[in-house]
């Protein structure tokens, strides 16, 4: 199902104005072991439920934002510009 994303700069817009940037991940620290890099590079939670993800508003303000979305119904719960603090995941996998 197609859906809309409430861009904090431009307001609610079609998802097709945005480029999907994948799940929000935490980059391993310098010197992390191979296992950490393997998980960061390849493994995904692929949540069937609520997950936090990156979107780039390419046909709008051209800024990267984060959205909290239910991947079962494509319902976007909220979207915001990350404030610099590492925002890993607001998803519970339940709801």
């Amino acid at each position: 199902m197609s859906f809309r994303i409430p861009c904090p700069q431009c307001g609610e817009r079609s998802a097709y104005e945005f480029r999907f940037g994948g799940e929000v991940l935490t980059r391993p620290q310098a010197g992390a072991d191979d296992d950490a890099w393997y998980h960061y590079s390849f493994v995904r939670r692929n949540e069937m439920g609520i997950q936090t993800e990156w979107w780039y508003h390419r046909f709008g303000c051209r800024q990267w934002l984060q959205a909290v979305r239910d991947t079962r119904a494509n319902r976007v719960i909220r979207a915001y510009f990350p404030d610099g603090k590492e925002q890993t995941d607001l998803g519970t996998g339940e709801s």
Partner: protein, 403 residues
């Protein structure tokens, strides 16, 4: 050969407390695995567990295209084994799968696309796969109605022609395999949703379903779309993201297209079924999702791309549009074999947009791996630990457009 079905193709059963093999997912991959376990290795105490009905998932949502003109030697060898098995499957199952080897054309509209097709043609030929580059004249002869002029925005420059490719009736494949499994005493349990696994140490002891718990010596995850969800239940993480893939079918027309047409540049593929309908498929949706609802932007894209190739279809109506969920892997190749974390948990997952055409080979060689405990060479490159070893099988050039 039995011309008319007299009775049920497969039966329902009560769940038994234990089986030799429990297979999660009774789609074409799960069925093929069970079929070859029973036929080649005499393992028949098998339960296939599926949350829906047969053909509900990717086995009934794909565009029924078969081909083996892949990019990597590992991929070409593997998909060609599948194509060869499909060629003999109607006779083997005594069930007409309506396999039409009408030929498969991958169009190149740019110099770089044609260069990519050339690499594939060379790799294919080295491995004995019938595949070659043809120019617009030959394309026009094979497909008289395609627009090979300079009028389109991206004129057709060349095509990778793969004569053994074609289309098959995907429901028939599922039904034929299900009937053959049933005749061997293999149990098919539909409406049986797996909700968890009982894991002890490095072993899956049993599978928990909405109809009760079953113990099994070997557990196979042969699901598509929900492969990572099922793996998660066993505590296994996967390098998979699930994207919807959409397709549509038009009203029937007189036969005019006797080849599968694919354009990677236009992100579209078109074939005409035995009933005359045009099946048009798209690229995967550009975001992760488990929703199987179609979208208007994708329908518009499929229609406009198909019209670039066949402008005379502008007045044709679309009958249906649908979506299936594709488990995409980082290298566009599947993940087959025993999981690193568990000793008796086999996966046959990560089938992205290319699972249907691979099913007989995946089932045949995974069955061998289960029966003998040794991984056959042909599926070894697709082992689950290849990402950890950084030995990827880069198949994107031949699999990124979902045909």
């Amino acid at each position: 050969m039995q011309l008319f079905s007299n009775g049920q193709m497969w039966r329902s059963h009560e769940l038994k407390p234990s089986y030799d093999v429990a297979i999660v997912g009774a789609g074409v991959h799960g069925l093929a695995t069970a079929y070859y376990l029973g036929r080649l290795f005499g393992i028949r105490k098998i339960a296939l567990l599926d949350k829906g009905y047969l053909g509900y998932g990717a086995s009934g949502r794909n565009t029924a295209i078969l081909r083996s003109n892949y990019r990597t030697p590992e991929g070409v060898r593997f998909y060609n084994a599948a194509l060869k098995l499909y060629e003999g499957l109607s006779a083997e199952l005594e069930w007409n799968l309506m396999f039409s080897q009408c030929g498969h054309l991958t169009l190149g509209h740019t110099d770089t696309a044609v260069a990519g097709l050339r690499v594939r043609a060379e790799t294919n030929q080295l491995l004995g796969v019938d595949s070659r580059i043809i120019g617009p004249d030959e394309i026009q002869k094979l497909v008289p109605h395609i627009d090979c002029s300079s009028a389109p925005r991206y004129p057709i420059m060349a095509a990778l022609y793969h004569p053994p490719g074609g289309i098959i009736r995907h429901d028939a494949v599922v039904w034929g395999l299900a009937r053959a499994c049933d005749r061997m005493g293999i149990e098919i349990h539909t409406r049986t949703e797996v909700t968890g696994f009982r894991v002890s140490g490095r072993k899956v002891e049993s599978v928990i379903t909405n109809r009760g718990e079953v113990a099994a010596d070997t557990v196979v995850n042969a699901t598509a779309g929900w492969a990572s969800t099922i793996c998660k239940m066993a505590g296994v993480s996967m390098p998979i993201v699930s994207h919807p893939l959409q397709a549509c079918v038009t009203e029937p027309l007189k036969p005019f297209l006797n080849a599968v047409i694919v354009s990677a540049s236009l992100h579209v593929y078109v074939n005409q079924t035995g009933r005359g309908e045009l099946v048009i498929g798209s690229e995967i949706d550009p975001y992760q999702s488990y929703s199987m609802k179609g979208t208007l932007p994708t329908l518009e894209q499929m229609a406009s791309s198909a019209l670039e190739l066949f402008p005379q279809l502008h007045h044709i109506r679309v009958l249906r549009q649908w979506a299936g969920i594709c488990d995409m892997t980082p290298d566009f190749a599947p993940i087959i074999g025993r999981c690193e974390e568990l000793d008796n948990f086999q996966v046959d997952v990560g089938w992205g947009t290319y699972g249907f055409k691979a099913a007989p080979a995946a089932g045949r060689y995974l069955a061998e791996a289960i029966a003998t405990g040794k991984t056959p060479d042909i599926i070894a490159p697709f082992a689950p630990d290849r990402f950890r070893r950084r030995q990827l099988v880069g198949e994107k050039a031949a699999a990124a457009v979902s045909h």
